[in-house]
């Protein structure tokens, strides 16, 4: 509970987008694409900024869930990680230029990923033998347990070798489980069928890259 009481209110839009749902969302903002919302947010429109993060926070939390090993948590959970990452993004928002709707999510995801890695590194730097619970400090994260550390590293490495569009197709559909219409919108595809094809082909490319990574490491 102690860590839970930690109050984090750097600004209204950063504190937690859920709190902003108490306000009726501006219809015009809800209907906008993420690129349009981002443009408005960059010009100082806080409603747009709120809407933008409200749109992405649940997905980011889903994505981050299970990526933080128990030993690295300290008093934090992935909700805190995501919120902290968002707080880091906001000051840099003005200089960000997305090519399409999925770009901003990719940017957020990368920031969250870095934040989680920072937390893991911090936890690893702590004196050996330090214990937060009775679990060993080198315990893998849930995803590492399920997939295997090597396979996961291969996946992450191969993902970075894909083009941005292919990478986002995989992340949006596989990691986030977005429905095809949203994938289509995010990738700028004209139809659900086109999004389906884009994801399928991106997966095949990813499998080929994973194989190449595997060969290069063997």
């Amino acid at each position: 509970m102690a860590a839970a009481i930690l109050t984090f209110e750097p600004a209204v839009f950063m504190a937690d987008s859920r709190s902003d749902r108490r306000k009726a969302p501006v219809a015009a903002a809800s209907a906008l694409t993420s690129v349009e919302l981002l443009a408005r947010a960059q010009s100082g429109d806080e409603v747009a900024l709120n809407e933008l993060f409200a749109r992405y926070l649940p997905r980011l939390r889903k994505w981050a869930h299970g990526r933080l090993p128990l030993f690295a948590r300290g008093g934090l959970d992935t909700h805190d990680m995501v919120q902290d990452a968002i707080a880091r993004v906001v000051p840099r928002l003005v200089s960000f230029e997305p090519l399409h709707d999925g770009g901003f999510y990719g940017y957020l995801r990368t920031t969250v990923q870095h934040r989680i890695q920072d937390q893991i590194n911090w936890a690893k730097r702590r004196p050996t033998g330090v214990l937060e619970s009775d679990r060993p400090a080198d315990e893998p994260s849930p995803i590492e347990k399920a997939i295997g550390v090597e396979t996961l590293e291969r996946y992450e490495a191969a993902l970075q070798r894909l083009s941005q569009v292919d990478r986002e197709a995989v992340v949006l559909r596989i990691e986030l489980g977005l429905p095809y219409p949203e994938v289509a919108q995010a990738l700028g595809k004209p139809s659900v069928a086109a999004a389906h094809v884009a994801v399928s082909r991106a997966l095949v490319k990813l499998a080929k890259e994973m194989d190449l990574v595997k060969r290069s490491r063997s």
Binding site: A4, R22, P58, K62, H65, G66, T151, I174, V199, R201
Partner: protein, 594 residues
């Protein structure tokens, strides 16, 4: 006779599409159709199928763990008569929210048990926590207001503590100094004594469970592992096994061997906490609970002196005594530890005083040598009378609540601009100009020690209260408005005499006398009647002291520090309820005219 199909280049896309659609894939058939050259890629696609499955199941797990988690924020979300505003965080047993009490019209912290498979355990834990906490009333212990079960969810509501945990402070700013840790220790001793006096053990004293509130109050939280002394202390665990509630790194060695917990086990945990604060380590470490227990058995531990050779001997001895493996050799009560800390701080503060005065006098000399023009505010007297305190505008000074919770007090302060036309209450950001006369009006529900500091944007500061030869001194009286500066028959003001930048007014109030504060603020320059005052920065040591007492949120600055950047909570326009040290700031714009 079956024929061998020709390699199908689209079969991989089709398999990938099935992965994406969460449709079953006949991998043998895919491998067959894709041809041997694609075997390696097919293998990797199979791995991708596992990864996709993990993410899907992860979503499902989350949905199962927290039913309606996404929906719970479809606005407005309520529980009982509380409107949930923000999620502050989560623990193993539930989530904590900032919520608005629609009956009392105030924000509180609401801990809601998760509706998961462990609900019975969680309910029992939360209700137990509420029951225990309700028996303790102390400024350094979180105040619980109530607990209930509504629509199948158990909730506990308590005061909203705005601040950060000691563990986070440690992460952010690194190990504490002996003085700062001792001041925290002093507060915690009082908190723990209150807990023990109520017939309870805390059972989980650790850096994660202690909050440093904005303004500096130290607050002991989380009684989830707490025990009722009457019920638990005298009889062994009914299963004959060790009682492992609490965090192993903080557990006293005797608890591992199954001895019943006592107050002395809480004292041990407090000593571990202090050890941790000054070293970022633990005296007994291990990767598992069993390893820690083994380390205790073999008396394998780290001594504080080996980690921090720079710490004062008295402090090290104090912590080491609290960590003695033999419970009989430890301090037997929190009160005994408090006395030891008070003794240490008293000695240490005398030493610091010498340095502090020297630092300030050097700074003063430098300022005088530079022949700086008069500071913006004079200590000023005027033949003009202002309305006596009793006739101050009623609307501007809301009446204080008649009663407050035990350990807390009410305080209502306002900075006023006094002109020929009357008085106006200043708000943060208001503009002042040379010639403006200022006065502070304050009312407290119990006698309080007050310190008022004026600081400019350069960090130059001086003391506005308490000052010699005034009618009002510390502690200021309770129950009626007090006007400062207090000049008796001759009204006094703080007068703005020059322009430039901003003026920060820092107001510190505490119901308990703090000799260290008196010494520190006495070292500041202060205005003389009808004479310009030469300001100087608060010494680094004084800031260090404030950091310890006031709980600065930011990392310490390497040299010097501005109080206005450390204590940022603005002075409200209404009365407040405070516990312990109360610090507010009001910043006024004082721009140069163009």
């Amino acid at each position: 006779m079956s024929s061998v199909p020709a390699p199908d280049p689209d079969v991989l896309d089709s398999a990938a599409g099935s992965i994406s659609d969460d449709a079953p894939v006949e991998w043998e058939q895919v491998a067959h159709q894709a041809g041997a050259a694609s075997d390696a890629v097919v293998d990797q696609l199979r791995q991708l199928e596992r990864i996709a499955k993990f993410y899907r199941e992860s979503d499902e797990r989350q949905a199962a763990d927290a039913p309606g988690r996404e929906e719970e924020w479809s606005d407005p979300r309520t529980w009982a008569h509380f409107l949930i505003l923000d999620r502050l965080g989560g623990g193993a047993f539930g989530d904590v929210y900032r919520a608005h009490d629609t009956k009392l019209q105030c924000d509180i912290a609401l801990k809601l048990m998760r509706s998961d498979g462990e609900s019975r355990i969680s309910r029992s834990r939360v209700l137990k926590e509420a029951r225990l906490l309700a028996r303790v009333r102390h400024a350094n212990v979180v105040t619980v207001y109530g607990a209930d079960e509504v629509d199948g969810r158990v909730g506990l509501w308590m005061e909203l503590v705005r601040g950060t945990t000691l563990e986070h402070l440690l992460e952010r700013q690194g190990p504490f100094g002996a003085r700062e840790a001792s001041l925290i220790g002093l507060d915690l001793c009082r908190a723990i004594a209150a807990v023990h006096r109520a017939g309870l053990l805390h059972g989980d004293i650790k850096a994660h469970n202690v909050m440093r509130e904005e303004g500096g109050r130290t607050v002991l939280m989380d009684f989830g592992a707490g025990k009722d002394l009457d019920q638990d202390i005298l009889r062994p665990n009914i299963h004959g096994t060790a009682d492992f509630a609490g965090t192993p790194l903080y557990l006293a060695p005797e608890v591992f061997t199954g001895s019943p917990r006592t107050k002395v086990a809480d004292v041990y945990s407090l000593a571990v906490l202090l050890f941790h604060l000054v070293s970022n380590r633990y005296p007994v470490e291990g990767q598992t609970r069993a390893a820690i227990e083994e380390a205790h058995q073999h008396k394998t531990r780290t001594h504080l002196r080996d980690l921090r050779p720079d710490l004062p001997e008295e402090f090290v001895n104090l912590v080491e005594r609290g960590l003695d493996p033999d419970p009989q050799q430890r301090f037997q009560t929190a009160g005994a530890v408090e006395i030891a800390f008070a003794r240490f701080l008293g000695t240490s503060s005398e030493n610091q005083r010498v340095h502090s005065l020297r630092a300030v006098s050097v700074a003063l000399a430098a300022v005088v040598a530079a022949v700086i023009v008069g500071a913006p505010i004079y200590w000023f007297t005027s033949g003009q009378r202002i309305a006596p305190v009793a006739s101050a505008p009623v609307a501007a000074v809301p009446a204080l609540p008649a009663t407050t919770a035990p350990g807390s007090y009410s305080i209502d302060a306002g900075l006023y601009r006094v002109s020929d036309a009357g008085e106006s209450k200043l708000r943060p950001g208001d503009r002042v100009t040379p010639g403006d006369r200022l006065a502070l009006q304050i009312e407290v529900s119990q006698p309080a020690h007050l310190y008022i500091v004026n600081e400019d944007d350069n960090g130059e500061s001086y003391l506005l209260f308490p000052l010699p030869n005034q009618n009002v001194t510390n502690p200021i009286p309770a129950g009626h408005p007090v006007r400062l500066p207090a000049g008796g028959d001759t009204p006094l003001y703080w007068t703005v005499t020059s322009a430039g930048g901003r003026e920060h007014f820092l107001i510190f109030a505490t119901p308990e006398p703090l000799p260290a504060f008196d010494r520190m603020f006495a070292s500041l320059p202060h205005p003389q009647l009808n004479a310009p005052v030469v300001a100087s920065p608060l010494s680094a040591e004084a800031v260090g002291l404030l950091r310890g007492v006031g709980g600065l949120a930011k990392s310490p600055r390497p040299t010097g520090s501005k109080l206005a950047e450390q204590f940022t909570t603005p002075l409200l326009q209404t009365a407040e309820t405070a516990n312990g040290l109360w610090v507010r700031q009001i910043t006024l714009e004082n721009p140069r005219s163009k």
